[in-house]
């Protein structure tokens, strides 16, 4: 087993511009998550799954991909879309489920996707994206493309049948896929040691015939380095890798969860001290790449951008009613056309949870 970890105080191996970009994106995600959790508590958003504490894993892993590479995300990788250039307003519109959402308000918040940045649509069913990611990677190779596919999951997903199926297919066919497991120690209320008896998640790759790497998921540089190496290998035709990013879910699983019922707050405190953003900033300042003054300025700027985008996104109306029947098939068969007329014959239902 190989582990990758950057050493405290060592000179950055990643170009300074990229380090600063990663930091800005991580801070933007933190800012956004904090605002959205507030909005959820205010009843303005139905549900939210924050990435708080895991920003290094999400942002630095996605940064190791090329724009043409594909992401099959899980719950906490939505922010990767922003890194990949997806605009903030339609991103927020997905959370509001309104007419500005490219996915037409079809899914719960935090299930965003956009073909424009090659981040595919995912379901809430844990692990099901993994065999699909392997298939997409197989297709890329069949077509002769240089695309790499990143398949994301949490620690909980590694118990699912689809995880093992996907790992096995990946081992047998060796397509250009990189599995990224964000081991945040908790699958809702189930700790990792009750999820698996393996010594790590990464070690599972060995049984499937390829390399598993465990990395400090709160160290953006280490995550970037490990995932970049795996992506490069995949692109060079050297097969799949499983990268386990050991991180921690500082907050609740989602806005519907209360972790005080199953988790010791002292454990959370330990991990708060390992906050990926704090550690990153300290290192950037020590390396002379960043200053506290610049940091203050950036935080203000990000808060302003997020608030402006929320204000714009929140104004948009619901998707038109008739869109309810679109996209079930490539064109609606007779029964959907009939049902649409039936629905349109009654007044629009009030949206649950929406402001009066």
């Amino acid at each position: 087993m190989r582990t990758a970890k950057s050493i405290e105080g060592a000179p950055p191996r990643v170009a300074p511009e990229l380090l600063l970009r990663l930091y800005r994106e991580m801070l933007r995600l933190r800012t956004l998550d904090e605002r959205m959790m507030t909005l959820q508590r205010q009843g303005r958003v139905g549900f939210y799954g924050a990435c708080t504490g895991q920003e290094a894993s999400t942002i630095a892993s996605a940064a190791a991909l090329e724009p043409g590479d594909w992401i099959f995300p899980a719950l906490r990788e939505g922010g990767a879309m922003l890194l990949r250039g997806f605009p903030l307003v339609p991103y927020l519109c997905q959370i509001f489920g309104n007419a500005g959402d490219e996915t037409k308000g079809r899914q719960m918040p935090s299930h965003m996707a956009s073909k424009s940045v090659n981040q595919v649509s995912w379901s809430s069913c844990i692990g099901s994206q993994l065999p699909q990611a392997v298939g997409a990677a197989m297709a890329a190779r069949i077509k002769g493309d240089k695309t790499v596919v990143a398949a994301y999951m949490g620690d909980g997903a590694t118990s699912s049948a689809d995880f093992h199926v996907a790992m096995n297919f990946a081992g047998v066919f060796k397509p250009p896929v990189v599995f990224v497991c964000q081991n945040n120690h908790w699958a809702i209320s189930i700790p990792t040691q009750k999820q698996t008896a393996s010594e790590s998640i990464a070690v599972k790759a060995v049984a499937y015939g390829f390399e598993g790497i465990k990395v400090d998921g709160n160290d953006a540089e280490a995550v970037y380095g490990a995932v970049k190496a795996a992506v490069d290998r995949a692109r060079a035709g050297q097969g799949p890798t499983l990268v386990e990013c050991e991180t921690y879910r500082i907050g609740a699983h989602s806005s519907s969860d209360d972790p005080t019922r199953y988790r010791d707050e002292r454990e959370v405190e330990i991990w708060r001290k390992r906050d990926p953003i704090e550690a990153f900033r300290t290192r950037l300042v020590a390396a002379g790449l960043w200053t506290e003054a610049k940091d203050e300025e950036l935080r203000e700027k990000l808060a302003g951008e997020v608030n402006e985008a929320i204000a714009e996104a929140e104004k948009k109306p619901d998707p038109p009613r008739e869109t309810l029947f679109e996209d079930v098939y490539s064109s609606p068969p007779w029964f959907l056309r009939e049902e649409r007329e039936e629905m349109l014959a009654v007044p629009k239902a009030r949206r649950p949870g929406a402001a009066q």
Binding site: W70, F72, D101, E102, T103, K104, R106, Q107, H111, A113, S114, K115, V120, S121, S123, C125, S128, L130, P131, Q132, A133, V134, G135, A136, A137, M138, A139, A140, I142, K143, T147, V149, A161, D162, V165, A166, N168, F169, V172, F173, E326, D327, V328, Y329, S330, P333, W334, F335
Partner: protein, 324 residues
């Protein structure tokens, strides 16, 4: 025109489309060198190679999950599930992923793939090689479900299915896999999805059937010409060709539905509901379902389980005698 069976027709359709469209790939268990347990993919591995005829590990969820990813990426996968009884490890991939992908992504992504799988009883396969799960997949939504009864339709429908924009569950009736023969036109032709076919005209009653049971219903109708039955081969189960069905029932006033899947919540239940909604004032008798029993599929007594010609004939005789 060659006299072919359904397996040969399926094989020919796959070959034609693989030659025509380099995006078409096959994947499944034992489909490569071995050519499939029913030989439906025989010779294709040799002709198109291992990158397009892919023997997979034994995991149906992986076969369908990978096929979804391939289709999203732009290929046209035709995965085979060796028996439809083995499809359930892939049920989540089909129901929650395949059938909902276009919808949940707001039309950005789709996975137009064709799942081929042998369906139904009649080969002494017990309940793990004999089931007919069509209703589950019709109910799931987002899928087209096709079940040809003969080689001519099998070839034309499979070519339509592969060329279509929607995911298709293509059910191949294994009881008549080799028994149903026909003059299959050579070369390229398609039969549209969503069109039923009147295989026997009549004014006395409408009999709806598909797959292997179409042949049983045909025998029953032929043995009792006095019934003057109009027999319709549904061919595409979903979306149902309701227009052809209702036109017939409005003419005959009587309707029987034959399928080998269990009766309760079977596809016949949905057809009965649709027919009574549209033909209530034309009906002269209650709609009759002649179906498999609500038991698991048996091994030894399979011919007592299946709605074969004698049971269909008895049912149709009673349907003719019924007055509302």
């Amino acid at each position: 025109m060659p006299q072919w069976n359904i397996i040969q027709a399926v094989n020919d359709a796959l070959r034609i489309e693989m030659k025509r469209d380099p995006r078409v790939v096959l994947l499944g268990e034992d489909i490569g060198k071995f050519g499939g347990v029913f030989r439906a993919t025989a010779g294709l591995y040799e002709e198109f190679g291992e990158t397009r005829v892919i023997d997979t590990p034994l995991a149906e969820g992986g076969i369908i999950g990978a096929a979804i990813g391939m289709a999203m990426y732009g290929l046209k996968p035709v995965p085979e599930i060796q028996f439809s009884d083995f499809i359930f490890p892939a049920f989540d991939q089909i129901v929650n992923e395949l059938g909902k992908l276009r919808y949940r992504s707001g039309g950005q992504y789709s996975a137009p793939l064709v799942i081929r799988t042998p369906v139904g009883g009649g080969i002494k396969g017990g309940h793990y090689h004999s089931q007919s799960p069509e209703a589950l997949f019709i109910h799931a939504g987002g899928l087209q479900v096709v079940c040809p009864s003969n080689p001519v339709d099998a070839k034309g429908l499979l070519l339509s299915a592969i060329r279509g924009e929607d995911p298709v569950l293509f059910l191949e009736p294994k009881r008549v896999y080799r028994a149903a023969k026909g003059e299959v036109p050579e070369g390229d032709y398609t039969i549209p999805i969503g069109e039923a076919k009147v295989v026997r005209e009549g004014k006395g009653m409408t009999v709806l059937a598909y797959g292997a049971m179409l042949h049983e219903a045909e025998a029953a109708c032929a043995e009792s010409p006095d019934l003057d039955a109009e027999l319709i081969d549904l061919r595409t189960l979903w979306p149902l060709d309701l227009e052809t069905v209702t036109r017939s029932v409005q003419k005959t006033g009587r309707c029987a539905i034959v399928h080998e899947a269990p009766r309760s919540c079977g596809f016949g239940a949905e057809i009965a509901a649709l027919v009574q909604e549209r033909c209530f004032y034309h009906l002269e008798a209650p709609i009759l379902r002649i179906a498999g029993w609500d038991t698991p599929f048996p091994y030894t007594l399979e011919n007592d389980y299946l709605p074969l010609a004698p049971r269909i004939r008895k049912g149709l005789g009673e349907l003719r005698g019924r007055r509302p």
